[in-house]
């Protein structure tokens, strides 16, 4: 990070180009095409209503805009990739795929919370994820502590709406009520 590089204001106004942008450009163009094909079935045309009041007008404007700008971006991207370098496309795609693992971690956290309860799930999630990330010793212990602090700050103090877990019903009434309200 502490490198010496020549500073150039164009870094701010023109961020560097990455070759993998072509994947994004193609994907967004295809999505725009699909949406355009679906426009007539996913919106309604109401007879007798002027075009300016049709419910499909604004989706149509948006999709046409996506198509126009998307086509331009696709062409510009092809030209940039022909002229310049800018990163390995396959390595970049692999990195995008690696994110999938953390999407699964997140969704597991989401799906387990209503069953087990916010506090227990958070403690388990943070500890397991810290372990998965390779942390041992002190940081591995700090992870559930951080989880506890987040639960206490948001549920106990800021009273955000996260319902109690089904597992709380197995506990004595007084403790159950406390956990449902605060943890």
């Amino acid at each position: 990070m502490s490198d010496d590089k020549a500073h150039d204001l164009s870094d701010l106004t023109h961020p560097p180009h990455h070759r993998a942008e072509i994947v994004f450009a193609v994907a967004s163009f295809v999505v725009a095409l699909l949406l355009a094909a679906l426009w007539s079935t996913e919106t309604q045309w109401i007879d007798g209503q002027p075009w300016s009041r049709q419910p499909g007008l604004w989706p149509l404007i948006a999709i046409l805009g996506m198509l126009v700008f998307g086509t331009g971006e696709l062409i510009a991207c092809l030209i940039r990739n022909l002229r310049h370098g800018g990163g390995d496309v396959r390595a970049e795609l692999m990195l995008w795929l690696r994110v999938g693992e953390y999407v699964l971690w997140f969704m597991a956290y989401v799906l387990v919370t209503p069953r087990l309860g916010y506090l227990p799930t958070t403690l388990i999630f943070t500890t397991l994820l810290a372990f998965r990330l390779g942390y041992r010793r002190r940081i591995l212990w700090l992870a559930p502590l951080m989880g506890l602090l987040i639960v206490v700050a948001f549920k106990s103090f800021l009273a955000v709406r996260i319902p109690g877990g089904e597992a709380y019903d197995l506990l004595p009434q007084g403790l159950r009520n406390f956990l449902v309200l605060y943890l």
Binding site: S28, P55, W58, A62, V99, Y102
Partner: protein, 498 residues
Amino acid sequence: MDTFLSALAIVSRWDVIAALLAGSVGGVIIGAIPGVGPAVAIAILLPATFGMEPIVGLTLLLGIYGSALFGGSIPSILINTPGTPVNALTTYDGFPMTKQGQAPRALGLSFGASFFGGIFAVIALVLLSPVLARVAPMFGSREIFLAAFLGCVLVVVAHRGQSLAAGALLMFGLFLNTIGMEANNYTRRFTFELNFLDQGVNLIVVVLGLFAVSQAFVLLVGKDDMEAAPEIKGNVLGGVLEVFRHKRVAAAGSLSGTIMGIIPGVGEFTSQFLSYSYARATSKNPGLFGKGSPEGLIASETANNSVPPAAMVPLLALGIPGEALTAMMLSVFYVHNVIPGPTLFRDHMDFVMALYICLALLNILALAFLLVATRPLLKVLVIPNRFLGMMILTLSFVGIYSLRNSAIDCMLAAAFGLLGVVLKRLNLPLVPIILGMVLGGIMENKFRTSLPRIRSLYSWIDRPVAMVIFCLICIVLALHLWGLWRDWKGKRDGSVEH
């Protein structure tokens, strides 16, 4: 005077004071941690503020927005890593000063410049208030429609070199806003027979996905390359006072930030670019820029810190957010049924004034906190990046799940998180999607309400304010096309200077 006293009464409430303290101190800390930034923090805290009164919630969010830029300069100066994206320019002169053994001076200059910029913008806001109170009621549906359209145009043209991608993403945001049950004819639009899409795509879910969840993913798949900051030996206060010896540069930077903050869709990067270019062009030591110039540091920090207060102008006066953070704040207004716009200045001037006072106090508190706590604050720089990613992911869950206790919202946020990762990795902007969603909603609504008064195309611009906005749109587009032509000609002639 009554309005001012009423505003003071609002600010002196304990919950507002608590929000002021939490916002300013929390903002500085968040800004100082590279990889978090105000957008992530505001996105996470947003649902929690819905239970608060608008002034309390907004003070907290504004505190984080403004103070994060103060804190963001610390890692920029000490370890050459911007705390927030807008502190990137600070590394140009801040880090070379650290290498020359002038870290305390650089930190002082940056804190002083941030304070100068923030207070300058608040004073400008106060002075502008009577004008805004007069001009804002002149904005009817047509004018607000055109102003939102101008915002869209500016979002696209402000992303020089990426205008096409920005345009496509803006239109994608506009499309997202149209999904769901259409309110006037009660017909479904792009719901694909999925019941959960009837309510549309929630802005907060998109914001949290694009900003917070994506940042967590980016950090989790990255490396723990944190770097310990060098020890600070010396007086920071001297640097703060030195800013006042460069009043011209500081004032120019603040003015640039204030003007660019007011214009929707432009923001910190353009203001810094203009301010830095001006400071370098008029300096007695232009060769020092990029190698540790105090003027360069001041130009950068005044320009970015004057944007947050100024960005409140289009939001409060017209209900039009100029960038992602004010778009998030708009939802705080909506949740409480307070509609920002022309009537806010007429009916709730004490509320507006209270916000201004809070903005000024936030700058004072952030500066005071930094003067006493910079050294202990350096400890946050050694938090491992992936641990930080885990923290953000855990916090993002609270933000998304507490909205409607919906696993589908979380799934959507994870999908937008993935999209955010792709955009961030490719250096493509996220903001156009958010602004497309917000401005798209405003445009559709105002377009419909304008229609009964529209006889011909000219009716759209037959009122003075509408005509002015229309001319601005034409000028912006003409300037952009001229710039593109000049770039193309320069490239063709092989004479582009980098």
